[in-house]
């Protein structure tokens, strides 16, 4: 009956959640911007060696990636633990590198076809034999610009 019921004194008003969507969108946008898209899922261990005399690889459209290293633990029972090459999403042999480079080159715009760089993302524990084989294949198809992708760090980290 009481029209003028007294409010209970002392209780806190509910916190407005009207801005929650904004915060969520903000986070979403932030992560959208800051994350690097990986074109292919890694199937090999890829702990890059450290170097400090490095140059940046800008302009992602001019780069093709060749991964190499030991297969990751969940692929090891199927593919063994010897170091392998990964091209796009599957394991490949050395003989597939040339075809891969030609296909990548054909998929790029005409004016970029001569300025492509091959980024070799090779695990630090790989033997040079495999890397040399890749390099020989790249020379065969005239893909001469390469980049040994490394992480930034002192070279002494490589020596243990």
């Amino acid at each position: 009956m009481s029209k003028f019921k007294k409010k209970k004194s002392g209780d806190l008003p509910a916190i407005s959640t009207a801005s929650l969507p904004d915060i969520v969108f903000m986070l979403l946008f932030f992560f959208m911007v800051a994350t690097v898209m990986r074109d292919s899922t890694l199937m090999v261990d890829n702990f890059l060696p450290a170097a400090d005399q490095i140059q940046k690889l800008d302009k992602k459209d001019r780069v093709m990636y060749i991964y190499a290293g030991k297969p990751s633990s969940r692929y090891q029972d199927k593919y063994g633990s010897a170091a392998r090459i990964q091209l796009n999403d599957k394991f490949a042999g050395v003989e597939d590198v040339a075809a891969f480079v030609l296909a990548e080159r054909a998929s790029k715009r005409q004016e970029l076809q001569n300025v492509l760089t091959t980024a070799l993302k090779v695990d630090g524990d790989t033997k040079m034999g495999l890397v040399s084989d890749i390099k020989q294949e790249l020379r065969k198809v005239n893909a001469l610009k390469i980049n040994y992708t490394t992480r930034l760090g002192d070279y002494l980290q490589n020596m243990d």
């Binding site: 409010k7 004194s9 002392g10 806190l12 008003p13 916190i15 407005s16 009207a18 801005s19 904004d22 915060i23 969108f25 903000m26 946008f29 932030f30 911007v33 800051a34 690097v36 890059l48 060696p49 450290a50 170097a51 400090d52 005399q53 140059q55 940046k56 690889l57 800008d58 302009k59 992602k60 760089t117 980024a119 070799l120 993302k121 695990d123 630090g124 524990d125 790989t126 033997k127 040079m128 034999g129 890397v131 040399s132 390099k135 790249l138 020379r139 065969k140 005239n142 001469l144 610009k145 390469i146 980049n147 040994y148 992708t149 490394t150 930034l152 070279y155 002494l156 490589n158 020596m159």
Partner: protein, 206 residues
Amino acid sequence: MPKRSAPEVNAGSMADIAFLLLIFFLVTTTIETDSGLSRKLPPMDEVIDPPIIKQKNIFTVVVNKYNQLLVEEELTEISEVRALAVDFLDNGGGVGEDACDYCQGKRNPSSSDNPDKAIISLKNDRETSYKVYIAVQNELVAAYNELRDREFSRLNPMLGMNFVEANRRYSDPRTSPDEKERLKPKLSVVKLMYPQKLSEAEPNKN
């Protein structure tokens, strides 16, 4: 007198604050780019008449299958490679038309004539570990960069940066075309003074 309850906070401007933050992060974050040691492979076609290079102009670095380092056929620690390579490149032992007027080395007649003739030959074994190979490459590139930094700072004392920084600025897409145009000749002068002649030989078959 009844106690007054706390007034509700106005959330109307929350969205504005959120967008302000969003724009701040948008502007300041850079997408992580890959970086590494850029190299150029030699072309495949065999040179019919390979130029004769004097032995004293070649600096051989061999990494064997036990990841040991042989510089000029002597067992060396990797920490010494940079200094040895700088000494070799900067030696300037040539006379007459081979003389190098900007070299500050020992002018040892049994080492390289001038930086243009000096070639570093890096050999590896198939069993060499990739990370050790990269460490050696890194040190050899560091030797070139050290010399280039020195000459760049000497020739352009007003610029207030060394070769590596200038080169980074030059290849940065955010640098203005005007500045690129200014940096380009300065960079290429130093590159010609110490050309990067680093030959990666094919590995030993075993």
